[in-house]
């Protein structure tokens, strides 16, 4: 099964918001971010991705900070810094950013070194044999989740309240076949178009199938001008 953490984690989602809205990390509007974070967690929960629990934990933390922010704070004494309930989280985010930056440097180093070919020993070949841990991508997985969220919201709006939900289910495996049939024909396919006017279970299973196939490098993602509202997939060349 696909684990979201294989792509990105709860801290990345926070950084995603901060980056998207160009927020000052030292003055995060917690109330707004907490609500939005929760909305994303609901989506992750609905999709039932492995590891969503870690996001739930972070959402709970944000809500607790939000609550603390609402409490009257004692005025700062001279020479003392006012207590900011966000401080611990911000410190953690900053520390995480340091390592993300370092990881970027290492990845660069890895690329430089990878251009130099030495004789490869059998041991070396064994080390990396049959591994699927090499997917690299230059977008945030939360861009994909954003698109999913919009599609799901729209699907919910279109569904009449009284509508009796059919006990129709879609397996991730079926949706793999569904996606493969389309991308094999060639060209880039819009996620929105793939799941247009389909029921929620169909949308979710398709999304999971896509994540799986991205991880296995069966398909490649392109983020177009639509930015956060849609993305495109094509068969990996």
């Amino acid at each position: 099964a696909v684990r979201l953490a294989d792509f990105e984690g709860p801290l990345d989602l926070l950084l995603f918001f901060i980056r998207r809205d160009e927020l000052d990390i030292h003055d995060i509007p917690i109330a707004q971010i907490a609500d939005e974070y929760l909305a994303y967690v609901r989506v992750l929960d609905e999709v039932d991705l492995d590891g969503a629990g870690e996001f739930v934990y972070m959402a709970a933390l944000l809500i607790s900070i939000k609550a603390q922010m609402l409490l009257p704070r004692p005025a700062a004494e001279d020479g003392e810094e006012a207590f900011d309930p966000r401080k611990e989280l911000v410190d953690r985010l900053l520390e995480y950013m340091r390592f993300k930056e370092a990881a970027g440097e290492l990845a660069f180093q890895e690329g430089q070194r990878a251009a130099l070919y030495a004789r490869q020993s059998p041991v070396e070949r064994k080390r990396y044999a049959g591994s699927d841990d090499f997917i690299t991508y230059d977008y945030s997985v939360f861009q994909l989740v954003s698109a999913l969220k919009r599609v799901l919201d729209r699907a919910a709006d279109e569904e009449p309240e009284s509508h009796v939900v059919q006990a129709e289910s879609y397996s991730v495996e079926d949706q793999r076949t569904f996606v493969l049939d389309r991308v094999r024909a060639g060209g880039r396919h819009s996620f929105v178009a793939l799941v247009k006017e389909r029921p929620k279970p169909f949308i979710i299973a398709t999304f999971l199938a896509l994540l799986e196939m991205i991880r296995e490098r069966v398909i490649t993602v392109h983020i177009g001008d639509e930015g956060l509202s849609d993305f495109f997939v094509e068969a990996t060349g």
Binding site: L23, M97, E105, L106
Partner: protein
């Protein structure tokens, strides 16, 4: 007729499929001839001489110094051809979650899983397992803290894969202030803005982490 030192070095480094240390080379030479082996300095000078000849005569390989030893590898100019030759093996780069876990472990070593999990905000169990299997990390002991979790550290293979001679050559971990104020990052932010206007995404995946901080750097 006996070969000269630089010729012996060349032969050994060409035949080996891993980095050879000066000590190993000295040992091999002693075993082969029974003579006193050359000093580390002589070997190192011999390597320099070889590289100079390679450059002067248009060879497309060089002796590299990494993982505490010497290893011959091709120059970047021929990389596309070797990539094509080894298409089935691929020039595979570690995924984001693996390289992130690896960098936390590299900078914090010896480090236990709970600490890595905390920094990353996610369970790093799978990533650690894979990095151990790839021999980029190794178990190096046990922590004295509650539960005595295993401690992880990087391996010689890690140095080899990243072309580092030792851990001191790791890129310096940036201070937070640096991260938020780096003028280069500011510059890139302008580039990003321009790209946003032109409607294209930044192409370089290595930039994705930095672009996060770009936005922050510009925040009031």
């Amino acid at each position: 007729m006996f070969p000269e030192l630089h010729q012996v070095l060349e032969a050994l480094l060409f035949a080996a499929d891993r980095p050879l240390t000066a000590d190993e080379i000295a040992e091999v030479m002693h075993t082969a001839t029974g003579d006193d082996p050359p000093t580390t300095e002589a070997i190192d000078a011999g390597i320099d001489a070889l590289n100079q000849v390679y450059e002067e005569t248009g060879r497309v390989f060089r002796v590299n110094r990494w993982a505490g030893g010497y290893q011959v590898a091709t120059e970047p100019i021929v990389a596309p051809y070797l990539k094509a030759l080894f298409a089935d093996r691929g020039t595979r780069r570690l995924s984001r979650s693996l390289i992130e876990t690896l960098s936390v472990a590299a900078y914090r070593q010896p480090v236990a899983k709970p600490e890595i999990d905390f920094v990353r905000g996610v369970d790093s169990g799978y990533a650690l397992k894979r990095l151990l299997e790839m021999e980029l990390l190794a178990v190096v002991g046990r922590s004295e803290t509650v539960g005595k979790p295993l401690l992880y550290g990087t391996t010689t293979h890690f140095l080899e894969r990243f072309g580092l001679n030792n851990l001191e050559e790791l890129p310096k971990l940036k201070e937070i202030e640096e991260l938020l104020q780096d003028p280069e990052l500011r510059q890139r932010k302008e580039l990003l803005d321009l790209q946003a206007v032109l409607g294209s995404e930044p192409a370089d995946p290595a930039d994705s982490t930095e672009s996060t901080s770009d936005e922050l750097a510009e925040a009031p």
